[in-house]
């Protein structure tokens, strides 16, 4: 019987097998950031332990760092202390850090792929649930807690039980004007945000094959939003082309050797998944969430559902959601006004995302009373966007153009939404209070967020040009 991609990667990484215990899995790349690592380093110090492989560990600061005025002292002294702690820890333990002023600084899940550190067939962990992003390269990547961060620092391994496997087969082609973000939101909407619990998902099908690496990362990024431990996409020519020439990708003979291994990374035809679902993507429309988890989502041409639209066990959750979001059932999604727009986060802050958003924005102005911001995922993305003239398009339209970081995705830095603010956000979580206490988040794709910024409410980007022309 054949093996799934997951099983192949797993088997290549079992360092120790023990009777009646989880395997000890070798970790190829450990990414750390300022929020979930300080207590792990404290643990090492308390036990007089070293970082076993500082050369397999990479650090950056992204969650709590300011995205403007970086030359000034932090407004937030506690955040500053956390950033100092990371600097000190990296220095003491010999870990490479992409610090605040480095051109390589950025959201941890954006910088590792763009430097070529993320490669097919690896195991990657990070104290962050969106580590699943790296699965787009056919690498087993998942989020861990701080105790496990300490375990990896001390041993370069993790004790792990195997997950079940779930194949998600996308059938048909994605309609014009819809994006990877719409696809993953529609999937979560159909199956619910805990459908994937206990599984590692492999995304398959023609739509996936046709996606760029950026789009694949958007899909894998949101695996955790469906409850899955990780998401995987088998590497192919798109993956190899993306990697070739990246600063940390192998070169010359090493590249050939790598390609030999990488080209075996797919699920065999006769491999058995624990579960498999087909999802027809040929009918999907741009998506907008209306509730307080990513599964509560409808098409932009739909309306806010009512409590009776749900089975009895879900009604309480729906009621809580509607109340928190301040939405009346039956409201058209296009009638929902927003006063804040956030384009950023590890889901949608790469160069392609910014290009897509800029395409919508070009020539228009942000609507009155709307605060709109673009936060590139990395300083590299920022620099490239500036070279391509995208930043000028955003700035001319009235967007704030910021330094790289997590920013309003979770509002741990000063970019926080106020009570009552309604946000069109390209991030991945619309939980209560996620972007600021009592703020209301609607998850959308970058073009949808850009259009909402211009119009002050949600619009179907598929008829963007024509609609605007008609109104003039």
């Amino acid at each position: 019987m054949g093996k799934t991609l997951y099983e192949k990667i797993w088997e290549r990484h079992v360092a120790v097998k023990q009777e009646a215990q989880p395997d000890i899995l070798y970790i190829d790349l450990h990414l750390i950031h300022e929020v979930t690592s300080p207590q792990a380093f404290d643990g090492l110090r308390m036990n007089s332990r070293k970082v076993r492989r500082p050369d397999r560990t990479v650090a950056t600061m992204d969650h709590s760092v300011p995205t403007s005025d970086r030359d000034k002292p932090f407004e937030d002294k506690i955040a500053e202390k956390q950033v100092h702690a990371l600097r000190q820890n990296c220095k003491d333990f010999g870990i490479k850090l992409f610090d605040l002023f480095s051109l390589r600084q950025g959201i941890v899940h954006v910088i590792a792929p763009e430097m070529g550190l993320t490669q097919p067939g690896q195991t990657i962990v990070c104290g962050d649930s969106h580590t699943a992003t790296h699965g787009a390269f056919g690498t087993l990547a998942f989020g861990i807690g701080t105790s496990e961060v300490e375990h990896v620092l001390a041993t370069q391994t993790l004790k792990q039980g195997k997950s079940k496997t779930l194949a998600v087969n996308f059938v048909g082609d994605l309609p014009l004007g819809t994006t990877a973000k719409d696809l993953i939101l529609a999937l979560i909407g159909k199956y619910g945000h805990d459908f994937g619990t206990g599984y590692v998902i492999e995304y398959r099908g023609r739509a996936i094959k046709g996606f760029s690496m950026e789009e694949r990362m958007t899909i894998c990024n949101m695996s955790i939003e469906i409850g899955a431990r990780a998401g995987l996409i088998a590497p192919d020519q798109t993956t190899f082309d993306y990697l070739k020439g990246k600063p940390h990708a192998p070169k010359g003979e090493e590249w050939e050797e790598a390609m030999e291994l990488w080209s075996e990374l797919y699920s065999d035809r006769d491999a058995a998944f624990d579960r498999s679902v087909d999802f027809d993507c040929s009918e999907i429309e741009p998506q907008v969430t209306w509730g307080t988890n990513p599964g509560l989502v409808v098409s932009v041409n739909g309306q806010v559902p009512g409590i009776e639209d749900f089975p009895s066990e879900k009604r309480k959750m729906v009621e809580n959601s509607l109340e928190y979001m301040g939405l009346e059932p039956g409201t058209l999604m296009t009638d929902i006004d927003v006063n804040t727009v956030f384009i950023g986060s590890c889901t949608n802050s790469r160069i392609e995302d910014l290009r897509e958003a800029a395409r919508i924005v070009g020539g228009y102005k942000v609507a009155d009373g709307v605060r709109a911001m673009v936060v590139p995922g990395s300083q590299m993305v920022k620099q490239q966007a500036e070279q391509e003239g995208l930043s000028k398009i955003f700035i001319d339209a009235g967007f704030e153009w910021r330094e790289a970081g997590c920013s309003m995705c979770l509002g741990m830095n000063p970019d926080i939404a106020g009570p009552g603010d309604r946000i069109a956000s390209t991030s991945n979580r619309n939980f209560e209070g996620r972007q600021g206490r009592d703020s209301k988040s609607h998850l959308v794709s970058p073009p949808m967020a850009a259009a909402a910024a211009i119009k002050g409410h949600f619009v179907d980007v598929r008829n963007w040009r024509t609609k605007i022309a008609e109104e003039v």
């Binding site: 929020v35 050369d55 070529g116 962050d128 701080t146 409850g227 979770l410």
Partner: protein, 200 residues
């Protein structure tokens, strides 16, 4: 880590599904670099009003739940971010066990590393326990990890499943890192053969 064998404690029934780690411990407290003292911030946005006053309507602000050790809640508890600050806060508040129909993966795993036992029970059992806990002030449950049962003194008793390795880990208060370090030789052997194609 402290070992967990058997506890008897007050049950706090928090009737809400999909409680995420942002709700358990809001982001503004993630900036601290300490591991202790998060109990005061547990469920902060629900426990306190905007001006920082205790919200008297919230379950855990009621005097009878100040000493609660068992949290009873609904499905998909602990979804969202991987922050271990969430179990730290629950543990620091005094919770030793959490009963729910289901848990999010990373959170579930994080609990065991911090001496908290997460217990999945079928929906109807959870429903039954909600009935009991809401009807009787100070309702108590005994959680026995050795026997893998949850019971009260009114005749309720049910078995729960937990994987053997994690059970041992909790029962013995095992330090996983020390255990893995024993295999240093094997890990080094593995590394010799294992190919990695990047360097920093």
């Amino acid at each position: 880590m402290e070992a967990f064998k058997k506890i008897t404690g007050t049950v706090a029934p928090l009737d809400r599904a999909n409680i995420d780690t942002d709700a358990i411990l809001p982001k503004q407290f993630l900036k601290r670099i300490e591991k202790r003292g998060y109990g005061q911030y547990l469920f902060y946005d629900w426990r306190y009003t905007e001006s920082g006053e205790p919200n008297s309507g919230f379950l855990l602000n009621k005097p009878e739940y100040q000493i609660a050790q068992v949290l009873l809640t609904r499905e998909n508890f602990g979804c969202g971010s991987s922050r271990e600050h969430a179990p730290w806060a629950l543990e620091d508040f005094g919770f030793k066990a959490i009963i729910a129909p289901s848990f999010a993966d990373i959170f579930y795993n994080n609990c065991f590393k911090n001496g908290i036992l997460p217990i999945s029970l079928p929906n109807e059992k959870v429903q039954q326990l909600f009935g009991k806990a809401e009807a009787k002030k100070g309702y108590q449950l005994t959680v026995d990890l050795e026997k893998q049962v949850v019971r009260d003194n009114e005749g309720f008793e049910t078995r729960f499943e937990v994987d053997e390795y994690r059970r041992d880990m909790l029962l013995n208060g095992l330090d996983e890192i020390s255990a893995t370090i024993q295999f240093e030789k094997e890990i080094m052997e593995f590394e010799k053969e294992h190919r990695i194609f990047y360097s920093i």
